[in-house]
Amino acid sequence: MQFFADLTENRFLVSGLAAGLMASLASGIVGPYVVTRRLVFLAGAIAHIALGGIGASIYLAYRWPEVFGSMDPLWGATAASVGSAIVLAWLGQRAGERLDTVIGALWSAGMALGILLIKLTPGYHSELMSYLFGNLALVHSDHLRLLGLLDAIVVLVVVLFHKRFLAVCLDEEQARMQGYSVLATDTVLLVLIALTVITLTQVVGLILVIAMLSLPAATVARLTPRLIWVVVGSVGLCSLLVTVPRIAVYGSPISPEPAIVLSAVAVYLVSLVVPRVRSRRTAGETRSRPKIQRT
């Protein structure tokens, strides 16, 4: 195929693939916790608030070029998304019923601030599109270094905190009885989500990050009853989703970034149609599955 023939000549193809796989590691690991803890909406907010950080970086580089001129706007996005993660975790415990409205307010405020600051900066900002919609063709080595750093943090923190995340997902009260603060655990998890959002920015863009954080994990969760295997499976599925569509649309007018997201949606929809895999022991039993909402 043309893609593999060009791979040896075009180093941007290689770095694009590498960025996709590095983002898959972070999003494959963090996605299952996002889905299990029902943080999809919060993750969406964090991703969109990151645009505020990008706008701020571009504006700061224009106003004070000697200080911020060489700073990659992804660092601004990182600061905004991590900051918003901490605020959102705190609000999650405080805002009660109005939480979704408050999240909506921060979500739009972050984006609006980003647009405002970019408009205040003279010039045409073509790179903005690549943050919003991803750009696998223009990943350079600085980005790969940042992705590597973020991946290392995500892996390390999840290895340390996995059991606490599971405890809080299962039963918050019991986690408290064991001496672990739900707020602290959620804060760690939301900061990991913020870092993962940054890894995905170049791959699918801030607007579509939410797809990669939720759909592969939700797909794999239908196949195995243990969170740790959902994590392993979703890293695998994310890796396939960022490479196969990329290769498939190469040379065609279709952009790889939306192709990746649409593939994730398609795989998820197929998994909904295929009946959920049950453990062998209970496969023959007919039972009703009570749906109990937590109060």
Binding site: T36, V159, K163, L166, C169, L170, D171, Y180, S279, P290
Partner: protein
Amino acid sequence: MHPSLAASMRGVWFAYPARSPCLQNVDLEIESDDLLGIVGPNGSGKTTLLRLLLGLLEPTQGTVEVFGRPSRQVRTRIGYVPQHAYVDLSVPATALDVVLMGRLHRSPWGLRFGRKHRNHALEAMRRVGVEDLARRPLGEMSGGQRQRTLIARALAGEAELLILDEPTTGVDFHAEQELMDLLLKLNRDIPIVMVSHDVSLVSAHFKRVACVSRSVTIHPTQELTPERLAGLYGGATALVDHSRSEEQAL
């Protein structure tokens, strides 16, 4: 504090912010071999009492001690068994994963629990009769099985006091009787406190009952008379005594 006391509440008042007190001047002692039922109508303060014992709430006035210390400090020695409905069934976890969470404070880091912890968890599952379900996904268990799994979680943490919140809610009659038999068996080794709205269940199986209605009065179950219940629930209440052969509606 008396050495044989598992827990005590002395002169406890509790009010949620900007509300009138929902518990007034509660004195309660839980002995080290106790099997205490806590009953009362909805909104009487049963759950508040339980959360005070667990150290999840602090009394407005008075002291709550468990094993002679403020309950907050000894939370990990208390086995708390919530209603099975409070556990999120959509979480991808097996029964063994749930039971292992009882040992989280002994092994908080890392991706998995070591063999020693797994053996403790499996032994706890055996004690409550769900060892065959270790690999069963949480969402594929019946209400009774989930409730037993939650009791196993408390036992796996080597709890020295079991506190159960309405464990028979949403559980069928047969499973309810089995659950009571299990609690009686466990009570040989460990004090048990159970909150229930089901007075007849408590009176049939338990040694003592604490009737909560803002204040708390404690009776041995054989002294639970219709008048006392009427005073508690504010109306006619049927009490069925299972210890006799003919059912006797009082």
